[in-house]
């Protein structure tokens, strides 16, 4: 929510400026509902809306991540209670096993909570939310501008489009698609050298679209993709790089919501990682490439 404060302050200033400008040019008293919103104000409102949607989404992912170990704790306590009621302490092995599990679940819970403290809201620069059909090529070319702001000045972001049909229309929630791509590009930048090239390769073949974000960074190491998409799990060899570890989890959850698949794998023959997002107008991507 921190990102919202300056946006709201700017919006209020924008309104006041507009009001002053209208009053200065008119002798007629101002009626508030007659004020026309300027392009700036409209843009600010869109950004605020995007932030609120994004914050709600982050909360939803966090809620799921926290509820899972909580369920384990609650159920194990109930198991222990039931066992005590029926058998007393006659089966110490079960007690030891469950107490050990409680300790692990509590540690997981603590880990998540500690990381939550360090989570910073990130800027989400996309616009309206909700499903809509758009020409993917134009959207990507336009989106490239805001994605370019997520990398460092010395890095280069390349967008290569290999479209079978240049006018291909894809129907999805573009706000979420923007969050996913933003997270992938941000991650690629964070884990790549200062002068690195980050490549976005888009391949479209009939209903299937593959968006690959390819970096030359530290790679996945021995981490499995499945672990990395869990909240706050981070790759090996990234100890010196700041990050919450939540980004990929959010991107993964967002991918699931738009019925896309998110895959992560090491580049073949060279260092770095490829994050591949598979989209299909037919909805569900049935095959997994993990």
């Amino acid at each position: 929510m921190n990102e919202l404060h300056p946006l709201l302050a700017t919006l209020v200033e924008e309104f006041l400026d507009e009001r002053r400008a209208v009053q200065a040019t008119s002798d007629v008293p101002l009626v508030s509902n007659q004020v026309q919103l300027s392009q700036n104000a409209k843009q600010l409102l869109l950004q605020i809306n995007a932030h609120l949607t994004y914050d709600h989404f982050v909360s939803s992912v966090l809620e799921h991540e926290l509820r899972t170990p909580l369920t384990g704790i609650v159920s194990t306590v109930q198991l222990l209670q039931a066992q005590l009621d029926t058998h007393g302490t006659q089966e110490p092995k079960a007690f030891i096993k469950w107490c050990d599990r409680l300790e692990k679940l509590s540690a997981r819970m603590e880990f998540l909570l500690e990381n939550m403290k360090q989570l910073h809201n990130r800027d989400s620069s996309s616009h309206a939310s909700g499903r809509q059909a758009r020409k993917l090529t134009s959207w990507l070319i336009n989106e490239r501008k805001s994605l370019g702001e997520l990398i460092t000045n010395s890095q280069v972001l390349d967008l290569e489009l290999r479209m079978l049909d240049e006018s291909f229309e894809y129907n999805t929630d573009y706000h979420l698609l923007s969050i996913i791509l933003g997270t992938l590009v941000e991650n690629a930048s964070k884990y790549s050298p200062d002068d690195a090239k980050i490549e976005i390769l888009v391949e479209q073949n009939h209903d299937l679209v593959r968006i690959k974000v390819i970096d030359s960074g530290v790679g996945l190491g021995t981490n499995s993709s499945e672990n990395l998409i869990k909240a706050f799990q981070r790759g090996q060899d990234v100890g010196h790089i700041e990050g919450s570890g939540l980004g990929l989890s959010i991107a993964h959850a967002a991918a699931q919501r738009i019925q896309a698949q998110l895959l992560l794998y090491n580049n073949t023959g060279v260092t770095g990682t490829t994050a591949e997002l598979i989209l299909s107008n037919k909805g569900i991507c049935q095959k997994t490439l993990f």
């Binding site: 599990r101 499945e226 991507c285």
Partner: protein, 127 residues
Amino acid sequence: MSKNTVLVVEDDQLLREVIEDLLYIHHIEVKTVGNSTEADDWLEEQVPDLIICDLFLPKVSGIQWLNTVSERLVANESSIILLSADHERTPEMLEDSPIHSLVKYQLKKPFKNDELIRLIHLLQPNS
């Protein structure tokens, strides 16, 4: 493994073990798997009458996976209990899904053990 075996698809290993212990204590046959690929493998052998499935799985969502195996589940008239942390979005995700009618209950995490056992007995009286 029999058709009475309850298939539990949950990616969190510790929670999987908790559910396994809970069902074992109540003499309910259970097979637990951590992702959709393992679940697919197991489905090759046996289509269960009851599946307990987490909404968020690592590769595809629980509903995405269930959709991919829907033909077999519908033919078998299997029942599904969905485990989720977010009930608000489930109807949206289930919209137009072929497994819509098979989802009998949604349990919000954390759930009570007794509630899960009651639902299993309700959906699978022979268990």
